[in-house]
Symmetry: C3
Subunit: 642 residues, 3 copies
């Protein structure tokens, strides 16, 4: 099971269709070349229409029907959609938004992660499912819940959350007995400022509705707490399933959800999976400029999916699926165009190139009703083939003939840290600045040079094998991370804002980055208007954010006004600002040259990716492009054996 494979699947909702359709659907799935089918994750009201009235018969039959057609089943727990009756039992289970309004029943994810009563209900239904299907031959994997954090549901300002936050804080600042050390919290947060000192943990409220911004230490603590609540909620499900089933457990993460620590959730999973909607993401979260949005409106951002493949491969400790793959137009973005012909195939192969073991299309058949009625499936609502179906079938034929899969670590590593993203979110310092955006910009620079990249969590301490390690924007860098990076046999790039805060969100003294062997000090920082970039003397500019650097380290690049922009000692370089694409590519290219890494200047929309045995070239543009001696047809995947 754990050796690399490539397979296809789809998401299916037997409860949406008459039973008479199930067998034919299963037959057509298999005929298309699909191996996997995910079911069950929103079916609680069909499994338990009223409390305690359990109806598993239909699910038994669905599993049997699908399995009998040769399909392997991913069974989802239905906890993202508690039925309406749950609210009668737990009226206070709803999450509460930042203005204090409850987030009501009527769609999905209507629960607060801190609500003990709902967590017990989650235990109950997961136990029932795992008891019944834990040894079922057809159930070959489990999915917990669905898209944690989607619709901004990680952070809740409910009473349950407030009570749990106080418990969490007591545990973080433990005192004699169990009541916590409030003086330690006050000192850690600097609550002397503005007389914000507390006498007891029970005085601490959630950081919403404050007159002006709350203490950033308070805000960051609440984000860390909120992340931990997701981790705990998921762990309960994983523990229950693992005690009852040997099938692997996953969760289907979403794109650019950063408000909980996916790595931490991932430690309780057997593999990671994610839901890839390139066109929707380009419209609502990839951070692309309007020009890029227009240029790639029907292809999606050429790096955004790749980034997430690499990220979730890391979250899954090497194992990653695309649990939901966009097969046509979606329904939920500001604008919902159709993919260009060939893009469904391209996205699928891109996922495989980045290590996906399975690409599962969402969904088998377009639903004619409810919220996602305009979300394309592989079939139209009338069961006729939608355009995605033939592309999926083509991919199925292609993977059957592809060489054996061979995974391989990249030589370039990029650290991504959810806690750093939270820190930037709490204190972006300049409008529009985000950690995710900074990391993605560097990733794009790497990809534009043809590099294959491994994303690593900030908990990594062994960097063996990497020749270039980039760790931009890590506002907090524990001492042992610095110690692990300092002697790495790789070029190491840190900055901007690296080590800018201690673990409690104070500015440390000695001033940042305080990196071993690197005589660089951030003397002060500033954020820049978008129309006021700071040009660099070798071209490009810092945009949005830049630092004034002091110290004796070598100045490698300067701003146009002569201030140090990139400083270096040995193999460690410090970048003193947010580089624009020109600067980012040059700086990464320079580090690659020092590290002896081959690079190639790829045009916009052309990307490549190496596995252990193959090199993939992807052309996301509608033009044929000649690059590195190859002719890449429009909207194409080109595979070469290495």
């Amino acid at each position: 099971m754990t050796e690399p494979t490539r397979s296809l699947g789809c998401c299916y909702y037997p409860e949406h269709w008459p039973r008479s359709l199930w067998a034919e659907d299963a037959r057509r799935m298999a005929e298309t070349g699909l191996t996997w089918v995910r079911i069950g994750e929103f079916a609680w009201s069909k499994l338990e229409p009223t409390p305690g009235d359990l109806r598993f018969d239909w699910l038994d039959e669905a599993i049997w029907t699908l399995g009998d057609a040769g399909l392997r089943i991913v069974l989802g727990t239905p906890t993202a959609t508690p039925p309406r009756w749950m609210l009668d039992r737990h009226p206070d289970m709803l999450a509460v938004d930042a203005t204090g309004h409850p987030r009501k029943f009527g769609s999905r994810r209507h629960y607060c992660f801190s609500h003990a009563g709902y967590a017990a209900e989650s235990d109950r239904i997961v136990t029932l499912l795992a008891d019944r299907y834990g040894r079922n031959d057809h159930v070959a994997a489990w999915q917990t819940d669905n898209e944690y954090g989607c619709h901004d549901t990680t952070i809740s300002y409910s009473d349950a959350a407030r009570a749990a936050f106080r418990r969490w804080l007591r545990a973080r600042y433990p005192g004699t007995g169990n009541d916590g050390d409030i003086d330690a919290l006050n000192a850690a947060w600097g609550n002397v400022f503005w007389s914000m000192e507390y006498r007891d943990f029970d005085e601490i409220d959630l950081p919403n509705l404050t007159v002006t911004e709350p203490n950033p230490a308070h805000a960051l603590a609440f984000r860390r707490f909120s992340s931990d609540q997701v981790v705990a909620f998921n762990r309960r499900q994983a523990d229950i399933i693992r005690a009852r089933s040997t099938a692997p457990i996953t969760h289907n993460y979403m794109g650019r959800i950063t408000d909980f620590d996916h790595f931490a959730v991932g430690r309780d999973l057997d593999f990671a999976s994610w839901d890839s909607y390139p066109l929707g993401f380009l419209e609502d979260r990839a951070g692309a400029t309007p020009d890029q949005q227009r240029a790639f409106a029907r292809q999606g951002d050429p790096d955004f999916q790749a980034f997430h493949h690499d990220l979730y491969r890391a979250v899954g400790r090497g194992r990653m699926w695309v649990m939901e793959q966009q097969p046509g137009p979606v329904n939920w973005a500001p604008h919902n165009p159709a993919p260009l012909p060939g893009m469904v195939r391209l996205w699928s192969w891109e996922a495989f190139a980045h290590g996906a073991e399975c690409v599962s299309y969402f969904r088998w058949r377009q639903a004619p009703f409810a919220q996602e009625q305009l979300h394309a499936g592989l079939l139209r609502p009338d069961s006729q083939p939608a355009p995605g179906l033939e592309e999926a079938a083509q991919v199925a034929r292609e993977i059957a003939q592809a060489p054996a899969v061979s995974a391989k670590s990249a030589e370039v590593a990029l650290i991504f840290d959810y806690d750093a993203d939270a820190a930037w979110a709490v204190q972006p310092h300049g409008a529009g600045l985000s950690y995710f955006g900074l990391v993605l910009d560097l990733y794009k620079a790497m990809r534009g040079l043809g590099l294959s990249v491994d994303i690593l969590p900030a908990t990594t301490r062994d960097f063996t094998g990497y020749r270039l390690i980039a760790a931009p924007g890590l506002m907090h860098m524990p001492g042992d991370l610095k110690s692990a990076l300092a002697p790495a046999e790789a070029e190491v790039l840190i900055g901007p804002r690296s080590g800018a805060r201690d673990g409690e969100f104070s500015i440390p003294v000695p001033l940042p980055p305080d990196f071993p062997g690197l005589d660089v000090t951030i003397a002060h920082i500033e954020s820049l208007r978008p129309d006021c970039p700071a040009p660099l003397d070798q071209g490009g500019a810092f945009t949005g954010y830049c630092e004034t650097l002091d110290g004796g380290a070598k100045v490698v690049e300067r701003t146009a006004t002569g201030a140090p922009a990139l400083m270096r000692a040995g193999r460690v370089s410090y970048l003193g600002g947010w580089p624009d694409p020109v600067a980012a590519r040059r700086i990464i290219a320079g580090l690659c040259a020092r590290a002896g890494l081959d690079t190639v200047e790829l045009p916009d929309g052309i990307r490549r990716r190496d596995t252990g045995t193959e090199r993939f070239w992807f052309n996301h543009t509608e033009r044929a492009v000649r690059v590195a001696g190859r002719d890449l047809p429009p909207i194409s995947v080109t595979r070469e054996l290495l």
Copy 2:
């Protein structure tokens, strides 16, 4: 009374002025050539300063004074402005906004249409008024309430609304006994999706504050319910008045209020009227581009008022007034410029050309106090003439010399359906798309070709006499509407989104449009970024929204990439996208050619309109324009006998 006439009037608030002014005001109104005066619609606190303490004496005198000067009176019911004491009796009568906040006393329209207690108060005051003035010789017409829906007041999320919505749903999905059939509702809405199934109607909440979007079927049902509440509220007033008076009953609708069914309200009225504020509308609701807003800042959109005249003529089943006509700058738009000299006259004649029986200026004298103190009147606050007064007097002189009015049905029909607007509002699919906008764009294309247009409700089944019928964007098309259109002896244009949903907001199978005799299927749809239009091969483009069409019908137009854009069988054409102005005008012109309708290419700002005996030309521009052999002076009305 019901034969076409043309007259002028004004809105007057005797309660705002000392009684000593009334007679002189009445005399000057008559001298100006006004025939009608509307009074009373905001005067509840003067009629009943405390509960049960009725003070009709002043109104008796005002009516006598005005009537004695030869003026005919439209008497308004004051239910749009319940006095402050009403809240002591009915603290829960306020509407509630989508975030759950009450919409408080302190302006107007502070009531929820679903509140039974307030509805009874409405009955009471209307009964008192109708009892007292139902046979009064001077009271020649009645107005119910004022501008239903203005300030977004149709939709309320109050407790009263929730209870009434549940009753409404039970009636829509009736069961044995009176408790409704919840399974029917669950099936109709597709509540199996995301486990949204209900066990009882009492579990159904209003569709606000949900975590992500609610079920569109739920949202649409709530909009339909909200519309029905307005209809019922108005019907109670109309029934009370009609039992006590033979004078005709109207309501003064507002521009671009689409959240209740004006046709349904209109069925309880004797004629329709509306409040026409061209400059305010251009700024805040006509949907004009910034360029158009600048070009017509002092004239208003050249089609927006015309559209409403035609619309409300249909709502009034042939009878229409302008109850409030902008006479100078208004106070409530983002910017409030003064009309160009001549525009008050132009607007008045435009209304008459479109069938208005009366144009009544709002208001006689500018109020020096309260919310509308910067709203111009025919008189300034110091009783001196404002610029509009002389223009009104000129119109009065002109209509006295005009030929007899002769109404005539147009040869071009355009269907407008409030339920379709609600459906698009619930599911625009692309940001900024609206049914109203689509219909208005086609109307503009027709008007740019010199066509006179009848607007028809979607309940029309007899299309006799029309040679071109356009029914764009009707997301739900009942079978008998299709059956009525299919054999029409006219060119029929449907699409986009025609028949895209069944009556419960599900996608029907066979797929849309499923139109008799027309082999066209919408294979899939997409919404487009504004910067990504889909060019058509004959010029122009689809913008915002387009469909992929299958089927054997003739392809009349294609996109630049060769996909079918306009398909036809016999006299029925299906348009597969939202046409830009170039495409819309060409497509309408082509259909006119097929139908044998004469067209003329009118420049921007030039419009014409035919009645049974006259042809009117309107020049909304500050330039003299030569068109069709005529010289139209700047800002002018040109009348020709046909």
Copy 3:
């Protein structure tokens, strides 16, 4: 004490630092040339960690340590930051925002000015401080609270505010007995409009959450009330301190806070001070265009600080400090760039040129924790010098060598009236129009002509000595103000909107401006789209707002369409619109010529200011500029003896 001096200071928070640092900090302050140090204004939780447990020892020591180093202390009352325990005693003390949400603990200014319980707590702590330090030799001045109105905290919709508002209204409309005259209020507000009449003051709610806009008279009354609450709150502190100390009392106002009457607060102070953050203000409140924001991103608006210096000099009846001067990047604006080298010195000298007695930098050392951890100080968090320190030291050396200070009244007066700003805020008539913006635009025109300006409150009645008086936009002009201006031996410029409302926010009859000796009537008004300015025939345009003027006064300027734009009788001119920079400068220049005032056309970014003995030239640009025969180096201050 009251003769003009120039000194420097800083803001210091001993409670943020170990006691071991205090003496060294004090020594370095003195060494830098600072004379003053402000302390204590946020330290309540350290002074009274739990109710009644008073800890003044540390403050005693801090005062002693600082004073011993030769520093004079400004002691702040800590009422802007009540500790968390205050909420246990007064749970309802929080302000409430316009949507009805409490504004919670967790930052600062979390109190409603109308809460009697909190006002008593304020009395208590201020009394304790004044008792202890009122005679302390080192405490040489007092500051009440901190930045009233900052974070939009003047206006609160709390229950306490509602009750107090009713009392305030009863006092404003007094009846027999104490219960008020509700008929007088109804008449004054025009509540007959829309049946808004009240039967009792207890029926009056706050003007939030109304269905559409509330009565502007209601809204203005609430703003006036809210302003009075700030005045009363401050007066209680001032009275307590004054009874116990001879040291002068000030308050540190913020920039562009206009929602309470600073002049009225100022009448209870001995001098005014304000907090000057040029770069933050340019980003978030100066009203600059994006081009100006880019051009002066690191210098700040060249007029905005000057305006406030002149304004607060008037508020302080001639005495003004900068209590907080930006010394480097701030943390709170949308973007937070660093000042150009030399700007801290320039800002300091600019303040002195406008009459500041002290410029006090905020803050001594950058805090490593809490909300303002990214706000620069004179020292970095590690106690190393930040760039501002040497500039401050340079200023200290320069003022030591400067000639004696000599204040002098300007010859040009500009009236600024907080009540007029409230009136415009209640009824801007056009989007984006504000009284503050209008006055600032005229001030810029004056400054661009090299004029030194005195700002005067609208309560001024003696205008002796001025040769040009501008009073734009005073929507309400009491009769005695008109009478005082009409015979002034100066050119007087009024309009637009001058006298447009009576004291109750009704349009007066005779129509505005009804100015003695000036035959001008505002026939009607309009607001203009930003893209629809009204050009003037001598160049420039009216933008946003213009009036149609009637009357027999001389027409001095006309619009391009020939309408009167500027009318005059004798020395009184009426301006019928909002002039753009070209028009404003020409009109002011013309008046100066009539008044015999010398002017000079200053380029962008160059400004001058005269005191009694010196002429200052400021170059805010990065270019050397030659003007009036002088070469002004980039970013420079040039001082000349007069």
